[in-house]
């Protein structure tokens, strides 16, 4: 007699890829509907890290808010700082000094290398390659050392101020940075040898999570994810800011649109960032790093505050609570090319020291909304591969 077995293989069941999970890099929740191992439906739930950054912008002045921008995409905090102050400086209508521009380029590119090392490392870790992750993190420790020498913080740097930086680079920083630049290519080669032609890595990432060119534009994607689908756009080349026009670098574009293409783009972008840093270090302009004190925007040096009456008055005017900055009334938008895409700040000013409304256009938020479209039809083990390739940082997602 044949044995009839009743099983539930025909049903669709729901899996909670909860906010606490080692493969969701930070806290966001996915409710997956599975038919066996295949994903047939996906609903992301976000908002676990929502801290009201945009509301706080209305209570903090233009120098205090930079501390909050650190905490958005916290793996590349200096890039966010510069994006914020780029918008603020456009609001005030001032031009920063050449030395400040080049230092900001160097720091932004170091942040880009740091973010991509983490992104590639975490993507590899999620599909099982632990060594590449550790190689990347070793280099990130060297970048943290550079940041610490420059501004005192390894992480959450708050390096920029209105009209300049919090402090100039100390002596010996450029020598240490050059040593880092000599060291990094070997590590990138090691990561490439581990992953690029690795049969397992290719099987896990090739043709997974494919976005085509028109969808990438329709879904508002920017950054390495869009460039991996063939969208030719990089703000450093198309709307140049700081001193990016002085440097010779290429922007990698791929056509695959899958997780493997995104990995390759990030790896190549790190090499191009290294080229920019080497050119910038060779050609670092001298001079002051803050704009002229006559603009009344940078905080004066302590020797001036205690030594001259103008220094004291300027310090007083900026720090005391019923004084502060006096920007023009109006609205401005300025965008930077951060490692994840286009980070723009839309600032509405009513003339007071605090922004009336500061909107942050977060690349992680906009990139993550495509996730349900990418994952439906794939297997459950592809969820982590796609999440790793999208590089979603929950603090920027939720703000």
């Amino acid at each position: 007699m044949a044995v009839q077995i009743e099983d539930n293989l025909g049903e669709i069941w729901t899996l909670n890829f909860g906010p606490q999970h080692p493969a969701t890099h930070t806290t966001f929740r996915l409710v997956l509907q599975l038919d066996g191992e295949r994903v047939v439906g996906c609903v992301p739930h976000i908002g676990f890290l929502h801290s009201g950054f945009e509301k706080q912008a209305e209570d903090l002045d233009y120098n205090q808010y930079v501390v909050i921008t650190d905490r958005m995409n916290y793996v590349s905090p200096m890039a966010n700082n510069f994006a914020w102050h780029h918008a603020v400086e456009q609001l005030f209508g001032i031009e920063i000094t050449p030395r400040c521009k080049t230092i900001r380029v160097i720091m932004a590119e170091l942040s880009r290398i740091s973010d991509h090392l983490l992104s590639v490392g975490a993507a590899a870790l999620d599909v099982g390659a632990f060594t590449a992750f550790l190689y990347g993190f070793n280099e990130r420790e060297m970048i943290y050392d550079l940041f610490e020498i420059a501004c005192g913080h390894r992480f959450t740097n708050s390096y920029s101020r209105v009209g300049g930086l919090s402090q100039d680079l100390p002596d010996g920083w450029t020598a240490k940075a050059r040593e880092f630049c000599r060291h990094l290519p070997r590590v990138l080669d090691d990561v490439e040898k581990l992953l690029t032609c690795n049969r397992i890595f290719i099987d896990r990432t090739r043709r997974i999570g494919v976005i085509n060119h028109d969808d990438a534009i329709a879904w508002s994607l920017t950054g390495p994810i869009a460039r991996a689908s063939g969208v030719r756009r990089d703000l450093r080349k198309d709307e140049p800011y700081f001193s990016y026009t002085d440097f010779d670098f290429k922007v990698p574009i791929a056509t695959g649109g899958d997780c493997y293409a995104r990995y390759l783009i990030r790896l190549e972008e790190m090499r191009q960032s290294l080229r920019i840093i080497e050119q910038a270090l060779a050609d670092l302009p001298g001079g002051p790093v803050n704009v002229h004190p006559e603009t009344k925007l940078p905080l004066p040096e302590k020797s001036d505050v205690y030594g001259s009456i103008e220094g004291l008055i300027h310090h007083f005017e900026l720090i005391m609570t019923n004084r502060g900055f006096t920007p023009p009334i109006g609205e401005v938008y300025a965008a930077n090319e951060v490692p994840n895409g286009e980070l723009g700040f839309y600032i509405v000013s009513d003339g007071s020291a605090r922004a009336y409304r500061a909107r942050c256009r977060p690349p992680s938020f906009i990139n993550y909304q495509t996730f349900p479209k990418l994952i439906v039809g794939h297997q459950i083990s592809d969820v982590v591969a796609v999440l790793g390739s999208l590089n979603v940082i929950a603090a920027e997602l939720d703000r």
Partner: protein
């Protein structure tokens, strides 16, 4: 290039209701033109025109956000929904502001034109309470379940209205 865009906009929109202003005058940054739309029921036609017409070709929507002009000096409309568009072909940006009053907070969703507007519009609904007619998934996104207020409105205090103290805590027995 920017005066050309302004001339094209003025020529196409010489009808009333579509005022053209400038975002901010600054010699160093490219001028960003902003179209103020007062007849908000024309929003979808305007967006379709801007995406598809050969003179414009603003093929990417960068952001959807809103501003509450409650305490802003000399503001005529309280809520304004702001759309940021980008043309890849011409490498220029355009801003559209849909001026809503403080009563009728409904505007058409542009998800049918740019699917990437889905989550930004949900966030605007969550933060300001502006409804998007025709949105495929109209619900809150960032605030927790059961949240009833609209946090980014100017009459909502930055310290909140006691939600932290009254947040329901579910113990192990009740879960």
């Amino acid at each position: 290039m920017d005066t050309e865009l302004r001339a094209i906009l003025e020529e196409e929109f010489s009808r009333t209701g579509w005022r053209i202003g400038m975002l901010l005058e600054h010699p160093g940054s490219p001028r960003q033109w902003c179209v103020e739309l007062h007849e908000t029921d024309k929003l979808l036609t305007l967006m379709q025109l801007l995406r598809d017409h050969d003179r414009f070709r603003f093929n990417q929507l960068i952001d959807v956000t809103a501003i509450d002009y409650l305490y802003f000096p000399e503001a005529e409309h309280r809520f304004v929904v702001v759309y940021s568009l980008l043309s890849h072909r011409d490498n220029r940006r355009l801003w559209i502001k849909a001026m809503l009053g403080s009563k009728r907070l409904k505007v058409s969703s542009v998800c049918s034109i740019w699917p990437g507007a889905e989550w930004p519009e949900r966030e605007v609904y969550d933060m300001f309470g502006i409804q998007f007619v025709g949105h495929p998934d109209h619900r809150r996104i960032l605030t927790p379940e059961g949240f009833v207020h609209y946090p980014l409105r100017k009459d909502y205090p930055v310290t909140g209205l006691g939600e932290r103290e009254s947040f329901p805590v579910i113990g192990r027995q009740d879960a």
